[in-house]
């Protein structure tokens, strides 16, 4: 247990100290990289909720990310640029879509579940790429970041801390939910669906809610990203993006507290490091991914923290 607490404290410290270090070393670029990593970590935390703890492999989560991003971009370019409102709207719209997809998918399992989530993501991709009002293939650009009363979001350091705070909040909420009665049912259903049903749990209903919550938070990550980069593009919704999220999850360690953060960092670092070394970095990434999965440990979190990651 103590190792876990130390790891958590150190990670939190590193994340909080980063912009200070970056500014002092005159490398503001690091703040920008870190902001993206933290947003990714948020999306992976949401994904872990259903994949790591719930055992539901979704290849469609990128669609919720894109929906969140487009909601913000659309609201913003239509003249509404209140960040809290836009982000809340993004969460709401993503939740709505997730609820719909979830209602159809959670009754299935295994390959069918993967396929339906995948198909849904494809639908979202083609629709947003095809609708002129959403910018088509080029996506929707925002002229300026949304604003929040009292907080200067245009300042990259401030934006980073806002995003970090949101990540911390959701990691906390997620961990509480996992340990609470709700999460216990979801985890039980992953280990033995038959048993959960035989005890009297309407497993579909719990899974549906988990899926909806997961989709909603993924949408929030997309919203934060859109405001950050001031753009929403269709390729945010491809299944390869969903695949990337899964890769981050597994690199970091599924069903762990720090896994999503470690995974986002590892993926980001790997990408940057490998691109420098070879044009064909995807090959190395693929090999690393395979090795990590086959090794069967709980990713980086398992390696660093041990069995109670």
């Amino acid at each position: 247990m103590r190792r876990a607490n130390i790891a958590l404290a150190l990670t939190a410290l590193a994340l909080v100290a980063l912009p200070i270090v970056a500014t002092l070393s005159r490398q503001p670029f690091w703040i920008s990289v870190a902001t993206e990593l933290v947003i990714d970590a948020l999306a992976v935390t949401a994904l872990d909720f259903i994949v790591g703890y719930g055992g539901m492999v979704s290849l469609g989560h990128a669609a919720f990310f894109a929906i969140g991003a487009y909601t913000v971009a659309f609201a913003s370019t239509s003249g509404h640029n209140s960040a809290p409102l836009n982000w809340a709207l993004a969460v709401f719209v993503s939740a709505l879509f997730a609820a719909g997809v979830g209602a159809v998918s959670v009754r299935t399992s295994g390959v069918f579940f993967i396929m339906i989530t995948l198909a849904f993501a494809q639908m979202v991709y083609f629709l947003i790429a095809g609708v002129k009002a959403l910018g088509g293939d080029d996506g929707l650009s925002m002229t300026a970041r949304d604003v929040m009363p009292g907080i200067d979001l245009a300042n990259p350091v401030i934006y980073y801390f806002v995003v970090l705070a949101i990540l911390a909040a959701f990691v906390l909420l997620s961990q509480r939910a996992i340990g609470a009665r709700f999460g216990t049912v979801v985890r039980a259903a992953k280990q033995s669906e038959r048993r959960a049903i035989a005890l009297g749990f309407d497993v579909d209903r719990y899974r549906w809610l988990a899926f909806t919550l997961s989709g909603a938070v993924t949408g929030l990550a997309g919203a934060l990203f859109a405001d950050y980069q001031r753009i929403a593009t269709p390729d945010m919704a491809t299944w390869l993006q969903s695949g990337d999220l899964l890769v981050m999850l597994i690199l970091g360690g599924a069903a762990t507290l720090l896994g999503p953060v470690f995974g986002a960092i590892a993926f980001g670092v790997l990408r940057v490091a490998l691109v420098g070394v070879t044009d064909h970095w995807m090959l190395v990434l693929g090999a690393i991914l395979i090795l990590v999965v086959l090794a069967g440990k709980r990713g980086l979190a398992g390696l660093i923290v041990g069995p109670d990651a």
């Binding site: 509480r176 609470a180 009665r181 709700f182 216990t184 280990q191 049903i197 719990y206 809610l209």
Partner: protein, 250 residues
């Protein structure tokens, strides 16, 4: 005339041309301990699965306390008061023995949509869970992950979990399967202590256990009931003897 707790009326279950359940009509009285025996492949587990709601019969109805529950799904039947154990271990492997029982206790409430308070530390769940584990003799293993427990301990835990639901009907699927001599004796004693407190349907191979525990016995062969009665009546039935000597193992 005792009330009927659970009944099947002419149920059939077929896979293509294979009739796994053939026109089975059973009446199980309130608080009776009714054993179902038969050679391998006779369809005992399939019958139990239909009683529990995992499978739906192709024809016929199932009644619970006089009410037709044929169309009611498995999870809803559990909420009505029908609990079952499984032949293959279906406990939550990563949860401890206590977690597994606490989960069952949690299931009894209307819903589990609580997101903040840690279920692990709720005394309302933990204390009764430990009491139930003590009842089946597992209190020393409360904190051990289920995947580490021995086969016999799994059997005990399954019963604790089923009892946690405070069921009206308990469906037991070969609770003694794979248990050693001592474990069997303990389990038989445990089941004996439950006898008469609730309706029990016991699917078993162990003839001694059946003789010791059952009020009545039904014999299944090839999907149909070939005899029903007390243990002595059924033992002396020529059809039953033929079924056991003819092709299955007793």
């Amino acid at each position: 005339m005792p009330e009927i707790a659970l009944a099947t009326r002419n149920i059939w279950k077929s896979y293509g041309a294979l009739h796994v359940t053939s026109d089975v009509s059973l009446e199980i009285a309130e608080r009776e301990l009714h054993a179902v025996i038969g050679p391998n492949g006779a369809g005992k587990t399939t019958l139990l699965a239909q009683l529990g709601g995992e499978l739906r019969p192709d024809r016929g109805t199932i009644e619970f306390g006089g009410r037709d529950i044929t169309r009611i799904r498995a999870f809803a039947r559990a909420r009505l008061g029908i609990a079952r154990t499984f032949q293959i271990t279906t406990l939550c492997a990563d949860f401890t023995a206590e977690d597994n029982v606490a989960l069952a206790l949690q299931a009894r409430e209307r819903h589990s949509f609580r997101f903040w308070r840690s279920a692990r530390h709720e005394p309302a769940l933990r204390e009764p869970a430990r009491a139930l584990l003590a009842r089946v003799g597992l209190e020393a293993r409360a904190g051990i992950a289920s995947r580490v427990l021995s086969h016999g301990e799994h059997r005990q835990l399954e019963i604790a979990v089923a009892l946690a639901l405070e069921p009206r009907v308990l469906l037991l699927d070969e609770p003694l399967a794979g248990a050693g001599v001592d474990e069997s004796a303990n389990l038989i004693a445990l089941l004996g202590s439950l006898k008469g407190t609730m309706t029990i349907v016991l699917v078993e191979h162990d003839v001694d256990a059946v003789e010791a525990l059952a009020d009545r016995v039904s014999v299944l062969d090839g999907g149909r009931v070939i005899a029903t009665g007390t243990f002595a009546q059924v033992r002396d039935d020529t059809g039953v003897q033929r079924a056991y000597l003819g092709g299955g193992d007793g």
